[in-house]
Amino acid sequence: MHKDFEISIDTLSKIEGHASLDVKVRKGKVEDVKLKISENKRFYTQAIRGKQFTTVPQLVSRICGTCSIAHLTCCTEAVEKALGIEPSKQTILLRKLMMYGMMIRDHAMHLYLFCLPDVFGKDSVLDFDERQHELVHHAFEVKKAGNDLSKLIGGRAIHPPYAQIGQFLHLPDKNETKKVIDELKKVRSYIFELVKIFYDCQFSFRKRTRFVALTTPDFSFLEGRIKSSQGFTILEKYYWEHLHRVIVPYSQAAGYEFEGKDFMVGALARMNLNREKLHKETKKDLPKYLRMFPSENIYHNNLAQAIEIMHCIDHSIEILENTDFKKEPKIEVKIKEGRGVGVIEAPRGTLYYAISLDKDGKILYGNLVIPTAQNQIKMENDIRTLVSRNLDKDKQFIQYEIEKLIRAYDPCMTCATHFLKVNWI
């Protein structure tokens, strides 16, 4: 029907940051797809050079507003490894809790505020009618519970000041802890409905996909082996050797391939590769939904995120109810030359930091690979496939389908540099 046409989306909405997209179809063939991350570079890689190691985790936290805790935690881990610091068991537990708070808040923002409007055929959560208003209440309560959990542990949900190299400056207050446990228990009941919505949702985009994720023994996003759906198992410190950086000339961020091929990181990858490690309460209550995995339907990334919210709630309640946090001796840091790698699972996928320090503890170089950059090539290839499969449909339909698919990936352009404009040229 449309032998020749173009689509240009200038600013994609309901994603984190700025990006645009150009699609060009000639003689019934998709000739060109350009996903341009138009977020402006802020040159963090350059800015951290020469800075004292103690200040850097809090600085890189500013790379991303929504997942600042992931950047902070991953960079902290890399610095600790470079200096041979081993954080205490309690510090690791606090980190897990702080990460869970972020995951709950960030996934809830994406699912309720960015994706639900697509499910209900509305432009925005601001247009929801009376019937959907209850879900808006849920949205803000769930987000708040995550926010309050991160605040309890880190002092603030965005750029948390208590989280430091080797330790936390402050321990959770007992009364506040009780309140947060109650909040988590209350919002847990809302997650059943959220999971069901994304299970019942008929959106589908299926394609052979290679998945990569850090698989952790308690699904806590912090420490483990990196696994891929092709059967690779990789130590954190060797991850970089399996990645291939691809310069995308029209984008302000680079893309990555894994073992020379496009791949996907994020909640769907984690669910496909590591779901047996979810919290026992989550597994007990959501068996029907867990049977959907492994899945190659990109929209199941949203179902996976909803299940992850439940896991984060369950594991947080368990830790908070069973741990008596005690003041610990200050960590002694011996400054020395060294290199360290930190790998964690951020909300949107595997996050990699390599930090190299000189003998005075100044940063020689830092290298980081963020989840959206790893998904970028696959997103572009998927858009190409999506357009090819729908050439008989009208342009408006195709454009909306593209936006929906990109949203399902939950990209973060702020991280990748920052969102999407489609320009059909």
Partner: protein, 158 residues
């Protein structure tokens, strides 16, 4: 009933202030729904319109010529313009390239030229008139509420 016509704009930054705004919505959404008409808010809606705004809340510093142009357009179409967060208020930390050594500047020059970056990253008030400030990284929540409530009264919405 009259509503305050508000736009939220994001320039070079980590969007942490937008995130704080979404967190403030946890407690204020149902109150603001009655008082505020979000005309421009890319994070929450596709159909955003830059026209006749009462207040533009602007996050981020200005790094490119395109951003500079857009900021001037926002200024023209808004009665009040409020800088939110440290990047918008004083440029930092998004302006860190302003302080790079010559070597590092040379290293990044190719990117700056290719994507239309200005020589320096600027705070909003270096380019347009700014009516209000909410400092902090991320922005201070109480100060934001104070500024918003002031304008709700000033525009006779409450």
């Amino acid at each position: 009933m009259k509503k305050l016509k508000v736009g939220l704009f994001s320039f070079t930054s980590d969007e942490g202030c937008s995130m704080i705004f979404l967190e403030l919505m946890n407690d204020h959404f149902f109150e603001w729904e009655k008082l505020i008409d979000f005309k421009y808010f890319k994070l929450l809606k596709s159909k955003s319109e830059l026209k006749d705004l009462d207040i533009a809340f602007v996050e981020g510093a200005i790094s490119t010529f395109k951003e500079e142009k857009k900021l001037k357009e926002i200024r023209k179409k808004s009665k009040k313009l409020v800088a939110i967060g440290s990047c918008a208020v004083n440029g930092s930390p998004s302006n860190q390239r302003n302080f790079f050594s010559e070597d590092t500047r040379n290293e990044i020059k190719i990117i700056l030229d290719k994507f239309g970056h200005r020589d320096k990253v600027s705070a909003l008030n270096e380019i347009v008139k700014v009516d209000g400030y909410v400092p902090g990284c991320p922005m201070n929540e109480n100060k934001f509420l104070e500024v918003l409530n002031k304008y709700l009264k000033e525009f006779r919405v409450v």
